[in-house]
Symmetry: C2
Subunit: 159 residues, 2 copies
């Protein structure tokens, strides 16, 4: 029988995977969210039954992305990580970065389009622009969610 906690962790893994990222990264994030406090790599390995290598690699990846935070409480020399208070906004910000990079990459390519091929050029340029604009909006939205905080009470519809 799987506990609700484990179900949540499992789901987080699957969802992350669906976004093209390693399943274990999602599981770690889920684990840190349910725990609420910082947890060491060793704790992750035994709670999630994963190798030390995976725990290390994926936790660090999450930290790079800003979704979790690496902490080093004095008194222990183990690395520990805790879920960012605003883990979700951080994920949105990561999406924003991806979108912006996509837009810029396309912009570079569109510069090489022949001048006479205006139709394609315009369509592609429009696509790139929407990528960039969407990145802006994701960031705004992330900021808005950050203020509320992940464990705030009920939500009112925006506006």
């Amino acid at each position: 029988m799987t506990t609700p906690r484990d179900q949540f962790i499992e789901q987080m893994g699957l969802m992350m995977q669906a976004e093209g990222q390693p399943r274990i990264a999602g599981q770690i994030l889920g684990y840190l969210i349910v725990e609420g406090e910082a947890r060491t790599l060793n704790q992750m390995t035994e709670a999630l039954k994963i190798s030390k290598a995976s725990a290390s690699t994926n936790a660090r990846m999450l930290a790079d992305r800003g979704t979790v935070q690496r902490v080093s409480p004095v008194g222990t020399r183990q690395d520990a990580y805790k879920a960012e208070f605003d883990a979700m906004p951080q994920m949105l910000r990561a999406m924003a970065r991806r979108f912006r990079a996509n837009g810029e990459r396309i912009d570079q390519i569109v510069a090489d389009f022949p001048d006479d091929d205006t139709g394609a050029r315009d369509r592609v340029a429009g696509f790139a622009r929407t990528y960039r604009d969407s990145a802006d909006f994701f960031e705004e939205w992330a900021a808005r969610v950050s203020q509320t905080g992940c464990d705030g009470p009920s939500n009112e519809k925006n506006e």
Copy 2:
């Protein structure tokens, strides 16, 4: 030497792949965007050098998602597809659907959390809520982009 068109198509493939979807789907979308007009499955297979099976499967997937449109011009019995005018908004809507599904799935799980474990319960519930709220936000933004259209002129910063 690769043409700018092919570079764009290639990028679209890579970007889609980074989002956890098949590379060929992205290539097809890119191809349809540069072409602007409807293209048959056969045209895709030779332009992208992919198998008939891949073309069929991935084009249909894109159509299901609403990113491309299946058209059947009279006079031919070939299936043809064209990029939606608002392909990008449709992609955003697809993201919104994923987010909403995620939020709802987590909500179902959180219902089984023991009542005494309020800390974890609240954190997870907050996470689910943010998923749902973000889905709403994505849809609003998609609608806004739709109005502008993908080949509209310059953009003014929001608000």
